[in-house]
Amino acid sequence: MQVKQLSPTEISELIKQRIEHFDLKPEIRTEGTIVSVKDGVVRLYGLADVMQGEMIEFAEHTYGLALNLERDSVGAVVLGRSDHLSEGQTAKCTGRILEVPVGEALLGRVVDALGNPIDGKGAIQAEKFSPIEKVAPGVIARQPVSQPMQTGVKAIDAMVPIGRGQRELIIGDRQTGKTAIAIDAIINQRDTGVKCIYVAIGQKASSVAAVVRKLEEHNALKHTIVVVATASDPAAMQYIAPYAGCAMGEYFRDKGEDALIIYDDLTKQAWAYRQISLLLRRPPGREAYPGDIFYLHSRLLERASRVNAEYIEKLTDGKVKGKTGSLTALPVIETQAGDVSAFVPTNVISITDGQIFLETDLFNSGIRPAINAGLSVSRVGGAAQTKIMKKLAGGIRIGQAQYRELAAFSQFMSDLDEATRKQLERGQRITEVMKQKQYMPMSVAEMATVLFAADQGYLDDVPVNRIAIFEQELISYLHANYGEFVERINKTGEYNDEVAQKLRTILESFKANQSWD
């Protein structure tokens, strides 16, 4: 941001105004004394009327969050550094819940968990603040998920479609392409008007910088807010980062827009919360997590929702009418050696509306995105799919799951009957079609054309190792010759005999006139 030139009169005018409005009444506050400071956790004596989750002010404008209210003491975590705090110092109640700046001003910026800019682009002129912990919209305020959230990843939009307002978990071991899917989904929202929030929790600062650079390269940063709590930030910051990001996303949802938030990843947030809880001496449970670890994630993910027009109208005082809002969440969970039955993965699987399960073996055998078709599901996305995708991608997931099983078995069989051989061939081709390069999200029309080709057998005479090139050529042919049709499908997503006929014409003329060798 540019630094505005302020004339001296403006400054003194401002100061005069502030002095005039300065409240001279004595300040009434509640004070406590620090009893101990260790590992970012402070114990306080006094502060008898502090509230759970209230901000506490320490020396030098450091703030803390009151988490444990005990009979004789208060346990709080320090938000930021704590090396200047010491035993005997006083601490004040603020009477406020932690708030972060929200609004359009944050788009294109990289901020920390408290909403402070860390990208060196100057101060953020946010017009509004929002508490990080909010109660999720109730039953009355909600509306079923019925609009698609196109990720631009063929395998996802075909097999595990995601709707606006859905919570879809991305789960898998390290290095299986979890973040890649999330980034592709953000890039694909370039022209959709969907605002994106990428919350990086406990990641290396270098990885975050790489993500930001990639978003910038693909012109996707201007509709994105990046909230960062890196591995070197205090555990308290890693713990609150998802809530801060969620508050920023809710701002868009509550004014009748659509937003997409990615929590990358919640495993690290759970670790940070476990650390805080153990330092606060809360009793450890399974895997040493505290008792409320489920609530930690459920209250966060419950805030991702689609809300109806009346709710929006009420919240905006009638300024926005007839528009629904949504916040779609893509939480990421990292498993250890593919163990989805560990504590946190099972919790988050049960909270979300489905999961995208990524596997190391698939990834290593070159199937990228490495989505396991059998274990991945989307519980509500089907209702939100566009007609054309629903029609063309309908049986792919089940077909792929069956193919993988059959392929494993067929290794032991010497001679295969005709039907099995055909199924295997087809499965191989579909697997090939589902592969996609990173940072190349596809539009609905592109996907539909490719899926139509696979569905109607246009790929049967294409060698498996040429399918990727066939697809690439087909798409450029499509754009070069049928721009109008592409636009129409992208806009309406309709499917009827006429569309099918058109697709047939396109494919036939492509196969007749183009080469893919």
Partner: protein, 178 residues
Amino acid sequence: MANLSSIARPYALAAFEYARDKQQLPEWKAFLESASCAARQPTVIRLLDNPELPSAKAFDLFHEVLASQLDTERKNFLRLLSQHKRFNVLPEISDAFNALYAALEKTSKVRVITAVEAEETFRQKLAHVLAKRTQRDVMLHCEVDPAIIGGAIIHIGDRVIDGSVRGKLNRLLESLTD
């Protein structure tokens, strides 16, 4: 100190309720205060910390020091402390006892910090106003701190009423640099 006051609370409550029922509150208060005074002495602390000290010996020590204030029940109280090796929490017991006593008597201690020595009329007026506000008898404890420049800071328990010039200047600074 969280742990110690948790330990002290049942002792203080038992002593308080007993004293209240027997109408011996002032005597018990004085007894606990002198006992805690003794327990606060560095040499005594060191002695009590010694794991080799037989509990009977500690009891004898306190018995001797507090002989003039002891009756059978207070002696039993000391014996109980010695049995449980809790002489070190005496200061907390005394504090908790005093808090209960103050709640019963509806008195509260108020710390007043002023820049210059407060005049008697001011003190009386302040005590009167605070008594009305807190609905309690107020025991003023005045301190002088020139660093606050002017005005006064009043501490009532956790609550602080900051009417000092220093506090106002700090807040002005905050509102200007915000």
